[in-house]
């Protein structure tokens, strides 16, 4: 005979009284439903609210509760716990002495704030800055970009020119804004190396079990900006891809925390393509990098702080299981990176191509030029050259697309010093790419999305203006 769990008599009694009231057409047993009701399960209660027998159930629940000092959920959980512990003891042989993991010392180092914070900074410096920014966004991008510029693009231009005599078609496929010469080049030469290095790093951090430790170290800081340590995971993932991160905000507990995280992702967190390009560009000029980083950090904390005050609801509690640290397997990391890249490119490459087509069509019928001309005064207002206008327009199609455009502008010597900082800050803040906007809409609804998007656009340009003025007044030179 298999074991059977009997709850304390008042609960069994209540179950017996609730069961006959319930429909028999439910998929799950009435005993199970009755137990959910006794634990005040909000979903089931909402579902049965309208039923004529609901008040009677309510009465039974209140009566039963009066038999216990502690909540019914606790009483039920306690019975289950005793029951399952008994089974566990019956069917397992437990070690006489608990064996500790061989990485126990490392765990202590990572969670103790004295050693943990320096470790955190080292992980961010080497993992994100050195590996993704300098290696991915610098070395790899330069190499592949150079190869495209010198080897592939001229060949593509020549071949396309030879096959299609019409300038219009040539421009669609090749030349400055063509699908192959711009769309594919950005995807393969700039985004691919950066995103790959980021996902490699993220998968490594994830599989080693380091992320929950990061959460517990930062929980207190995050509480001041209306979030909990749990939010660090979507936010770090946002450094990889804001779209993916917006989807992952689902793991956050309260609506309030999800809205704040979505806003911070849309506004302040640069995605890896953007981050890689910006780090790659600015690392050549340390002052510029410091200004950009401090401005972004200040905005992140400031906006978070105010959002924490404005968005309704209570601060979320923080709880997280801390799995043992382990040496991740290379195969698992590579597989994860591969799967994430596949997801990313399944979603990104079509948009790159679409953006190329839109730009081509926009140029053809003149709309593109009108928008660019409309943006030109804004550029001057920010103290940027008018040539930066298309970059902001691409930024709408994809944030990284805009960052990649900035890379081009810098390479050709149009964007320098102060302008580079202002452009980098404004572009980082500027509205999320089409894909992220679409996911925000899916996850948060139309109202929140419009509110966040309009705030982000206004804020990005206003802050760009202010930053330009401040840098001019303070005569910061780069």
């Amino acid at each position: 005979m298999s074991a059977r769990l009997l709850y304390p008599p008042p609960i069994e009694n209540a179950i017996a009284r609730i069961e006959p009231l319930l429909d028999t057409k439910n998929r799950i047993s009435r005993r199970s439903l009755a137990l959910l009701l006794l634990q005040k399960d909000p979903i089931l209660r909402a579902q049965l609210q309208q039923e004529p027998y609901f008040p009677q159930i309510e009465r039974i629940v209140v009566e039963t509760q009066s038999c216990f000092v502690e909540s019914l959920s606790l009483a039920i959980a306690q019975s289950r716990h005793q029951f399952t512990t008994a089974i566990e003891q019956d069917i397992t042989i437990q070690p006489s002495k608990e064996r500790t993991s061989k990485y126990e010392w490392l765990h202590q180092l990572t969670v103790n704030p004295v050693t943990g914070i320096p470790i955190l900074l080292l992980v961010l410096y080497f993992g994100i800055y050195q590996f993704v920014g300098v290696f991915g966004g610098g070395t790899l991008v330069d190499g592949i970009e150079g190869f495209f510029e010198s080897q592939i693009n001229p060949v593509v231009n020549t071949i396309v020119a030879a096959i299609f005599p019409w300038q219009v078609i040539q421009d669609l496929l090749a030349n400055d804004y063509g699908i192959i010469t711009l769309g594919i080049r950005y995807a393969v030469a700039i985004v691919l190396p950066i995103v790959t290095t980021f996902f490699l790093m993220f998968s490594l951090l994830e599989d080693s079990g380091y992320l929950p430790r990061l959460s517990l170290l930062l929980d207190r800081l995050f509480k001041t900006i209306g979030l909990s340590g749990r939010s660090i995971i979507p936010l770090i993932l946002g450094l990889g891809c804001g779209t993916m991160a917006t989807l992952v905000t689902r793991t956050l507990e309260s609506k309030r925390e999800r809205i704040i995280a979505t806003l911070l992702l849309a506004l302040t967190i640069p995605c890896s393509a953007q981050l890689g390009v910006i780090l790659g560009l600015l690392s050549q000029e340390p002052t510029a990098l410091i200004v950009w980083a401090s401005v972004m950090m200040a905005i992140f904390l400031g906006i978070g702080f105010f959002a924490g005050k404005i968005v309704p609801g209570n601060t979320s509690c923080f709880y997280m299981e801390i799995p043992p640290l382990r040496l991740p397997s290379l195969k698992a990391i590579l597989t994860k990176t591969y799967v994430r890249l596949k997801w990313y490119f399944g979603e990104i490459l079509p948009l790159f191509i679409l953006a190329s087509i839109l730009i081509w069509a926009g140029k053809l019928i003149g709309v593109f030029d009108v928008i660019v001309r409309g943006l030109e005064p804004v550029m001057l207002w920010l103290g940027l050259p008018t040539e930066a206008a298309p970059t902001f327009l691409y930024g709408f199609f994809r944030r990284d697309y805009g960052a990649a455009g900035m890379f081009d502008l810098h390479s050709s010597g149009i964007l320098t010093g102060q302008q580079l900082v202002v452009a980098a800050v404004t572009l980082t803040l500027f509205i999320p790419c089409i894909a992220q906007l679409q996911f925000m809409f899916k996850e948060r609804g139309i109202k929140t999305t419009i509110a966040i998007a309009s705030f982000v656009i206004l804020f990005a340009f206003s802050l760009g203006y202010i930053l330009n003025q401040v840098l001019t007044i303070m005569e910061v030179s780069f």
Binding site: L5, R31, I91, T251
Partner: protein, 208 residues
């Protein structure tokens, strides 16, 4: 024999090997043959970090899901296999600790349990935390839905000196139990056999 990276291109070969070993293959090859049958749906449920996704990938031969880190599988993931000559759809669910959801992503599995037509729930638990995780197993048993228990990470538990009596556990709970180490494919054949028993015994023909 790792087909994760190329399951599109090497499906025919994979199907052959899979058929030989335990009579299951991948989605594309069976779509047409079985589309007129009533379909068996099997869902993998359990708390985060117990290897649900790894097991899912093993069963379906596809790697579509993102990760096993708490919170990065946030939606239902679907995959197909053929077991005992029947097309079976497997669902991978975001982690859940209890029938009463706390976060939004935990609701996915709960809604599946409460509302959807799922023929079998495979509850995946970590052998190292057996007692604690049996709590949800028992909640599932109480629903009277068909449940199969997979005690995963059995090798890791053994390294810590924990030994689990599979038969005794099955006897106590009154449901089929399989001990596994999914990452090493240990116990996979046993699991497939148990699922096959289930697929065969379900009177699918009567529903259509």
């Amino acid at each position: 024999m790792d087909c994760h990276d190329c399951h599109q291109s090497c499906q025919p070969k994979r199907k052959k090997i899979a058929w030989k070993l335990f009579g299951f293959g991948s989605r594309k090859s069976v779509n047409n043959d079985f589309s007129h049958h009533a379909q068996t749906t099997i869902a993998l449920v359990g708390s985060p970090n117990v290897g649900k996704s790894a097991l899912f990938n093993l069963l379906t031969g596809t790697y579509v899901t993102v990760s096993n880190y708490p919170g990065t599988t946030v939606e239902l993931v679907r995959g197909n296999a053929v077991i005992a000559g029947e097309k079976v759809t497997f669902l991978d669910t975001p982690g859940m600790y209890s029938l009463i959801p706390i976060t939004e992503e935990e609701r996915v599995a709960r809604d599946l349990i409460m509302n959807e037509k799922v023929d079998l729930f495979i509850h995946v638990i970590d052998a190292k935390h057996l007692g604690r995780m049996l709590n949800l197993t028992w909640q599932l048993i109480e629903t009277q839905l068909p449940v199969l228990l997979v005690v995963n990470m059995i090798d890791e538990a053994l390294k810590l000196g924990i030994w689990v009596d599979e038969n005794q556990l099955a006897y106590k709970l009154g449901i089929p139990v399989v001990t596994m180490e999914a990452t090493q494919k240990v116990g996979l054949k046993k699991l497939i056999a148990k699922v096959a028993d289930y697929v065969r015994s379900t009177p699918l023909s009567t529903t259509y």
